[in-house]
Amino acid sequence: MDYFLTEEQQMIKELAARIADEKIKPVAAELDEKEEFPWELMEVLAESDLFAVWVPEEYGGLGGGVFEQALVVEELSRACSGVAVSYAASGLGSFPILMFGSEAQKQQYMPDIANGKRLAAFALTEAGAGSDVSGITTTATLDGDEYVLNGTKQWITNGGEADIYTVIAVTDKTKGARGASAFIVEKGTPGLSFGKKEKKLGIRASSTTEVIFENCRIPKENRLGREGMGFIIAMKTFDKTRPGIGAQAVGIAQGALDEAVQYARQRVQFDQPISSFQGIQFMLADMATQVEAARALVYSVARLVDSGARDVSKAAAMAKLFASDVCMKVTVDAVQILGGYGYMREYPVEKMMRDAKITQIYEGTNQIQRSIIALELIKEAARKSK
């Protein structure tokens, strides 16, 4: 398939693919086994300017957007989605600053994120607030020129490793969903600490921790946007990043498909390669078709988001939903094609199957995505019938 990439986008894709094949693939199994944060690889990505692709030029970036980031995430995910999500989470943490930050905030934080010197992270989820984000209890109380943060965030990607955290906290309990605000908190701020590193099913190279605020005081200037905009900022951020989860899913699925095709050509049973059996051929054909359809949707949505279109929530949710469901199915089938070998850790597909599952869960479960899509459909229909 030809997606008519510009010369620059082609360059980005090829460089990311080269890093995936030469630097990430050889260490992916080891990173998974040791559950080690891939700092060396983050440095490779930084030196290759890949953290700059979604940042405007005036803030030290290369002037791309969601699509360029998706191209990188897809290629990295082919090799190891634990590495890819650590990279992508810096985007998740930085989009709130890019979209809602003041000029001063952007100038202060974005150049370091763009050159990969500092990683970013996004802290929204809490123990009692997952799909229902209005359940957050972390508070930010204005005290003179400072906000005082208290509470615990859970399952924060890049927790402990990132330097810059965008945090959603309640500033006015009486206002419900309109009572939350967004803040920038830097690592090293007194009162900010990190809980235990979670033991996960997949994406085990990435760091997932609690982020704990105990009378953590930050300057008033660290608030993003106005008070009460917290949830809007979170939702607008997800509109930008859900295509990225879709890209991650496409990358994992492509990696699994590649392994399955290669294996099917080599594995001989009943005196012939198993690729000669129609049962295997039909599975491979379905897998390839689904991956391509997911890629086409993710790319289209990423381009739509970058075009500056309004109301992209439905499209962004579709890209995330469809690609992650495809990813789960394709990786399960890849394990099936590799049979007993696929189940063993010597082969990469069992890791891909474990890694796939999270794409159906994080940045909004696929049930939440369906709710978003359905509500938008109903709203659109209601508008038309007026």
Binding site: E7, M11, L15, V53
Partner: protein, 258 residues
């Protein structure tokens, strides 16, 4: 400090084929890449530049398409690329190549250090580095695995040998050829790749480097390849079978008979 790195565009060794009739490497239809050994030379030059300041020039000889490897070098961080490309340069053996590159380095002027890969993956001669030094009448050290110290006047290196290494100090300017143990070459960055796309590659012909027409290209190349072949292996292995003690006994008999 001005460092010149000599690089060569070669057919990708993983796709290499040889024409049995002519004994030449088949270059058509094969992807062309920077000679893998030259990447270590480029990386070492860039590390020296980062530590000491200065500039790095990449120099290559080849058809116009060889400008591609110079762009790749610029993407890695090299400052300038110079391509020696003209009809008159074609068909050069290592003698003519060494002379031609030396003439270009004379024109570049104020060069402190010249770094080459230990050999090219196509010809595998390892002659051009030393030949270059001979033409320029400066010292050379081959098989360098580490640069221990460098000043504007001198260089201390470790040179890989069959049994270990030699520590050598040499006055600059000098030529060194490097082995793959010396570093791990970097990947290019996007900014570098974008700069490389727009970079101007200087192209020089025989006139620009004041070359003697009889010493370049086919005219200046006394080497003729008569035949290329895989050497036949006359030694034959033999597997001894049986229990370990039977094998040991059989081996003892064999050795006693010698």
């Amino acid at each position: 400090m001005h460092i010149v790195v000599c690089i060569k565009q070669v057919p990708d060794p993983s796709q290499a084929r040889i024409d049995r009739e002519t004994g030449m490497v088949i270059r058509e239809g094969v992807d062309k890449i920077t000679n893998p050994f030259d990447l270590y030379a480029l990386e070492e030059a860039l590390r020296l530049k980062e530590a000491q300041g200065g500039k790095v020039t990449a120099l290559s000889m080849g058809p116009p398409a060889a400008a591609e490897v110079l762009r790749d070098a610029i993407a890695m961080g090299v400052d300038h690329g110079v391509l020696l490309s003209a009809r008159g340069f074609a068909g050069a053996d290592t003698l003519a190549t060494s002379y031609t590159l030396a003439q270009a380095i004379r024109r570049l002027a104020d060069v402190h250090l010249i770094i080459c890969g230990k050999q090219a993956a196509d010809g595998d001669t390892a002659q051009v580095g030393p030949g270059l030094a001979a033409n320029l009448d400066i010292p050379h050290i081959t098989q360098v695995r580490k640069i221990a110290q460098i000043t504007k006047e001198s260089l201390q290196v470790e040179r890989l040998t069959d049994t270990g290494y030699e520590a050598i100090e040499v006055n600059l300017p000098a030529v060194i050829t490097v082995v793959k143990e010396i570093n791990e070459p970097r990947l290019p960055g996007l900014r570098g790749m974008m700069r490389a796309k727009k970079a101007e590659i200087q192209v020089w012909g025989p006139e620009e480097i004041d070359a003697d027409e009889t010493r370049i290209g086919l005219k200046g190349s006394p080497t003729q390849v008569w035949r290329t072949f895989e050497p036949e292996i006359h030694r034959k292995g033999e597997m001894l079978t049986g229990t370990p003690s039977e094998q040991a006994a059989a081996l003892w008999e064999r050795l006693r008979a010698l």
